[in-house]
Structures are given as C-alpha cells and as structure tokens.
Subunit: 437 residues, 2 copies
C-alpha cells in the first residue's frame, strides 16, 4: 500500500509547489472571528457566558476557576502522571533557565554608558485548546518559561468541558507552574477577553498558545491593534531526513506521530542516498506504516494527513539542505549517521526545532526532553523562533551620558540634526552645553 | 503663554484618559493599502513603476539603484557628515555587537543534550521613509544590527525624490553598512514588494523600519499572512520626568525635540515634587519653550504637537513610577538627581529606551550614542522591545538523545502520550526501545 507520494530529486521549479502548504483561510472565519471580538469588546463577560452556552454547551456560573477547584485537581490526577509531569517540568525548567538573558552594559566611549535592562512581561495570557484530550503538556511549555522569566501575572484560558469544568490534569499542571488565574473560556472569545479585558478577566500584554483556525485568526486580528502574540500559527508539520540505512520503523513512527495531530498535519520525508536503495527504503517505510497503523486509533486524521505527505529521494547533502531550508519545517528530524547529521545541522538555517540521531523522536521534545514544543509552522521558521524564555521578556535600553560624554558626541549630533533638518534636536544638545539657552 | 495642559496629581480614573494616545486609523487607509498590496502582488514591478509615477511624480527606468550610483554618493557627502556617521557607526556597532547572543548548551540529564543554534535571518528588508530630510540615521539603526547579526542579504527601500534619485547621504550610509541592494520604492508598495517579491525585488523574511500610516498599515497587513515585521508602529513620543530643581531649558528642549517629529508626536512631562514648586517649575519650562521656539522652524508641527502635550505634578516616586509604567513611553527621560534616577529606573518596567540624567538628551540616542532609535510606540512598550541585534536573529532548538537518554525519559513520554490520547507519539518511543515494531 502506498502512503507517500514519491518524488525523485525534483527540479527546483517543481519543488516549490511540492513544498507548499495547503492552507485556505476562508473569508467566513475572518468575519465570524471579527464579530466575536467585537462582541467581547463591547459586552465583556456577558458575551463570554453567551458563547460558553452556544459553543461549549454549558451554562457557567463563573468564568474563573476557583482556587479550591485547582487544589482539588491534585487528588484526581494519578501518581504516574504526576511523576511524568515532574520529570518533564525539571527538564523544561532547566533548559529555559539556561536561556535567561543578562542585560549587557557597555561604555562605548568615556562618559557614554549604555545598557539593556531585562524585564519580564507583566501579565501574560496562555491559551490551552480543548478537544478530545487534555493538553497538559502545552501548559508546561508556556507556563514554565513565564515562571522562569519572572512574569508577575500569568493567566490561563481553556474551554470548559461539557460539565463546565476543566480537566484536572490541566489544573494540576497549571498549579505545578504557579499559575493562579484560570478561566473556563475557550475559542476566539478567550483571545478577545485576554486582549481587551472584561469584568472578570483583566487584559494581558501578550497572548501565547496554539488553537484551531478561529483562535489563530483571533490572535492575528488582536495582534495588529491591541495585544502582542507569540507567533502566527498553523497546522503542525515534520520533515524527516533519513538515509536508506536508517531504521524504517523509526521513520514510520515519526511520520505517524505527526500525522495523528490533525487532518491537516503534514509529514515530509527526505531520503538522502542512491536512487534504487532509496526506493527500497521507502517500500520498507510504507510496510512499517501499514504495520504500525493497525494498533493506532485516530485513523481518520492519520489517513487524511498521510495522503498529503510527500517523500523525496535526493542524491546528496546539498540537495537535502536545500529542501530543508526551502520548506522551513516546524520539526526537523535528522538521522543520517552522526557525521552527516552534524554536517546537515551546520547548514540548517530554517527550522523550528531539530531532532538529531535515531533516538531523538519528536515525542521526546513534544513532552519532556526540555525543548519547547510551541514552534513556528507554515514556513514562519524563516523569520520566527519557537517560544522560549526570550518570548516572555523585554529589554529596555538605558543610556547615561556625562557632560564629557555629551561633549564628545556634540559635533556629530549637531551635524546629523542639521542635515536631517531637526532644529530642536540640535537645540537639545546646544542648550546643555551652554551654547544656547 | 501656556503650552502644556497641567494636571495636579490626577486620580487613577482620570489618568487613563490623560495618558491615552489619539490615534484614529481611518477605514480608508486600510482599504487603500489593501488595494496597493493586491496590485503589487499581482502585477509586480509594473505596479511599482505605476505608483512611482502616481505618488512620487517620477518615471523611473529602473527600481534598483546601481552600484555606480551608490559609489558616486560618497563624493557628494561632505566631510563633516562622513565624520559624524563614522562616530555614530562606531558606537551603534559596539553596543549591538555586545548584544549578540550565544546559543546555550545544556545536558539536562545523562544522554539528553539540548542547545540553541543562533542563526541570522537570511534576507531582511529595511524601509527608510522619504520626506523633507534624508533619514540616514535610520539607515544606521537598521543596517548595523543586520550586519552585526550576520544577515547575508540586506535590502533597502526608500522613495525616490522628484528627480528619481535617492539622497546621497542615504546611499552613503547604506554603503557604510555594507548594504548592497537599494531600491527606489516607497510607501505601502515598497512593503508589498518586500513581502511578496516582484521581478526586481526578491521577497524578504522580515521587514523593518518606520513610516507614515500607509507604510505602517501595510506592514501590519503583510505580517498576518506573509512576512514578519519588527513591530507595529505609531507616532513618536517622549515622557520627561523632572524635579522642580531640574534645568527648565533642558526640559523644554526635550519636549520640543519630540514635538518637531510630526504633528501627531506626543510630549509628556511629569514633575515630581511639591505642588507650588512644581507649578513654578512648569512656568519656567514654558518660558524656556517660548524662548527656544523663536529659533526653530517646523512651527506647524511644533504648535500642533505641543497642544496635545500634558504636564503632571505628582508628589512622589510611587506616583511617577505608576504614570510611567501606565503610559509605557517610547522614550523616557529621567532627571531627578542621581539617586532618585536610579530608584525610578529600578521600577521602570514599560519603556522603549531610558535616558538618565541631565546630559542624556534624546537626540544623543536618536543619532549616535549607540542605542537603537527604532522603538515601540503607542503603548507597545508593554510587550515589545526596541529593535536590537536580537531582532535579526533566530534561535533554533536542537536535541540529541542517546538510547540511554530516551530510556530514562520513556516512562514519562509513554504516560503523557497515553493521557493525551496520542498513540503514535507513544509508538515512536516504544518502537525505538524495541517494545513494538
């Protein structure tokens, strides 16, 4: 059975099409989201209660989840998950703590001292999608860097379940990361609430987190006027780079674990090697996919995603590097053997997160190795980094000039101000040096 | 003559209104920009030539400025400006070089190695506005961090003058910073060209730089679908914090140098001190403004901006810190005496750039002290930092797990994948540890 559309070293013109993402945002999403944003902006909590009833099918008495409920969640989470979250927490915390920047200080000339002051964002909003399973891993991925950065106020919004409650694993993960404000609000309306503020939910400075196309569109809309966001988001994707001598079962499992995320997930495979060997390898990968599929659920997502997946056979590292950097994958798994892995990594410039060698599966990074799983999709890896401690921090530049420092700069400042025809800019210098009043 | 609207320690409710920016984006700007973006996307260069004729009043034969033209500019720039640009370059380069991040590497547990690979953006676009005077300082502020970051391709777009040429000071500054691609394209159409690409101008990964409301709207529109931008921008602004014992001429000159930027610039003054002394001080500041105004041009901008300026008298550091952080000024000048300056700086969390003490005038940072002058306006300092070397860099996370590393993580990964109901995520671990095929 053939799952992967195969392409043998396609020429550049064809490659562009083959590496494209098929995302069509419908006009109706834009309009619906815009209407939801307006409603929340104008009616506040009332709109949120209304949408909870309409979209989540629950009549809530309060949007805020009580501290008692958060405390109580601890008893409902089983010991093995607690232990798992604890190990994940340790690794994620360690890696994000190492990312904490220190403000630099430079005296560029006598009497001209420049520095950057590192400040955490004051109030951040984390969005955790609902759906079939509780995404507690995303709670860790967003709340731990906020904690490491030292953000004083962290808010979490997530849609209520049918009973109007939040899954205890979400609440437990939030508590683990010291998140004290949790609201049972989901969808575009949650983004609106965090951007504009309502009676119950105070506006935040930046919104983080994944979501469906309504949530994503809402984030993009508020980002242009009101509230910063982590990044524009799209469906998840992986590019696996293997050789004909890689383990086909490992490769199959990586493609499948991407494909199960959703029906629009994209899994790409690049086989670097000789043509005939590459074809044989692809046969073995497909065989492994067939085998592994038998024990998996989510078959609807898996088959739809796999149908859009592509496999390329390319002759050398040059071609591989070109495909990788052209696609700019969210996740990049490289398994070409140690020397060749390092050589390719050296040349990777567009990717969200890289997984090196046969034992670095994407699930490790998704959950617990310590890297962040909130990553740029849809080619945004060309310009964006994934979420990190940096994402929760601002750097304010500070300068202090002595009279000596300003004097040494004066000829330059006066000349530039004159040529840019800014007389008062000139004056601010002249008046300080006693040349004008 | 009273220039500043005065407020004596206003209550919190009133403060919110007093610190608001008056920005009304008209629906017509959104539509006009959207039409320009569509035209450039569809017609490419043809649309650019058309707009050059329509908006800039020139019929261009080529959009690209030739290397000869860039070389020739050197002879047309006078020696004093060259010397000024050279000193500015040295300071800006030194401070931005100090900002260059180093990717961290952490082994969070045996066999689990995590790191971040620091990569410059591949191709960046710098927009330099036209207008009455050549903004060569902005060329330095954008092109130097791109150079420091190591961006391989740097593109500069700026509107052509009436003769179809670019001011030699702009070209000279570009050459100084090793910018090799310069295009005579301005306005929203320049942003479109850099975002989508045309026959002459290849698309970039991120667009930087200030501009009028059309340019700003174009940046915001492309940022949601196609191309990253530095930050949403608005009119320039300053908040000056002084005591009744500060030098009123210095303060007046700072307010004026902000006000001359444009008719929508905002200059705010906070006087921290006793009420009567504060009033006396404000009188002296207004007297100094009157004096200094006589020698200034740009009176239209100055009077319109000053009319929207506000002065607050507040009793203590608490109130000052509250006003500063609520306003989140682009530029913050603090002159309360050394000890109090430091105490306030300690409490500043929302500001673009801070100028400490009597000799740190904004013009110093605008031009040549070394800090960047591309800063968050309109309250965005709550969530954005100014442009820095960071803005030209991505950080790609990398992980490498040994079999031992994956084994130690396995129970956690299997547990989390099961609870999130992601069977293939579970499988990718199990198959690697020989538990499944």
């Amino acid at each position: 059975m053939a799952f992967l559309q195969r392409y043998d070293n396609p020429p550049n013109e064809q490659l562009k099409t083959l590496l494209s993402r098929n995302l069509g945002k419908t006009q109706s999403v834009t309009k619906q989201v815009s209407a939801i944003l307006d409603a929340v902006k104008e009616e506040g909590d009332a709109a949120l209660f209304c949408y909870a009833s309409e979209f989540d099918g629950v009549n809530l008495s309060s949007l805020a989840v009580s501290l008692e409920e958060i405390q109580a969640a601890e008893e409902q989470v089983d010991g093995s998950l607690k232990q798992a979250l604890s190990q994940a927490y340790t690794h994620i915390h360690a890696f994000h703590a190492a990312q904490m920047p220190i403000g630099e200080q430079v005296e560029v000339a006598p009497g001209i001292s420049l520095s950057r002051k590192v400040v955490p964002l004051n109030r951040v909003g984390l969005y955790i999608p609902g759906g079939t399973a509780p995404l507690f891993s995303t709670v860790l991925m967003l709340a731990i860097p906020a904690l490491v950065a030292g953000c004083p106020e962290v808010v979490l919004c997530t849609p209520p379940g049918k009973q109007g409650t939040i899954h205890p694993a979400i609440l437990y993960a939030a508590k683990l990361c010291n998140v004290k404000e949790v609201y049972a609000v989901g969808g575009a309306q949650a983004i609106a609430a965090m951007a504009y503020g309502t009676q119950s939910i105070q506006a935040v400075d930046k919104i983080f987190g994944p979501g469906n196309q309504y949530v994503t569109e809402a984030k993009v809309q508020v980002s242009s006027t009101t509230c910063a966001i982590d990044m524009p988001a799209g469906p998840s994707e992986v590019m696996v780079v293997a050789s004909p001598f890689s383990n086909p079962s490992f490769v199959a499992s990586d493609l499948l674990s991407q494909a199960e995320h959703g029906r629009d997930s994209q899994a790409m495979l690049v086989v670097q090697g000789e043509k005939t060997e590459g074809k044989d390898f692809l046969d073995r990968v497909e065989e492994a996919i067939t085998n592994q599929l038998t024990s998996l659920e989510r078959t609807e997502f898996l088959t739809q995603s796999l149908a859009c997946s592509r496999a390329f056979i390319v002759p050398d590292l040059n071609s591989t590097a070109h495909i990788v950097n052209s696609y700019a994958p969210e996740h990049l798994i490289i398994d070409l053997g140690e020397t060749e892995d390092d050589a390719l990594l050296e040349r990777v410039v567009n990717a969200g997160s890289v997984f090196l060698g046969p034992y670095s599966c994407e699930s490790a990074g998704d959950y617990a190795s310590g890297t962040n799983h909130t990553l740029p999709t849809n080619g945004w890896a060309r310009s964006y980094s994934g979420v990190s401690t940096d994402s929760f921090i601002k750097k304010i530049t500070v300068q202090k000039l002595s009279k000596e420092g300003l004097t040494s700069l004066a000829p330059t400042l006066l000349c530039m101000a004159e040529q840019e025809q800014l007389g008062a800019h000139r004056g601010a210098v002249a008046v300080r040096l006693g040349e004008e009043k």
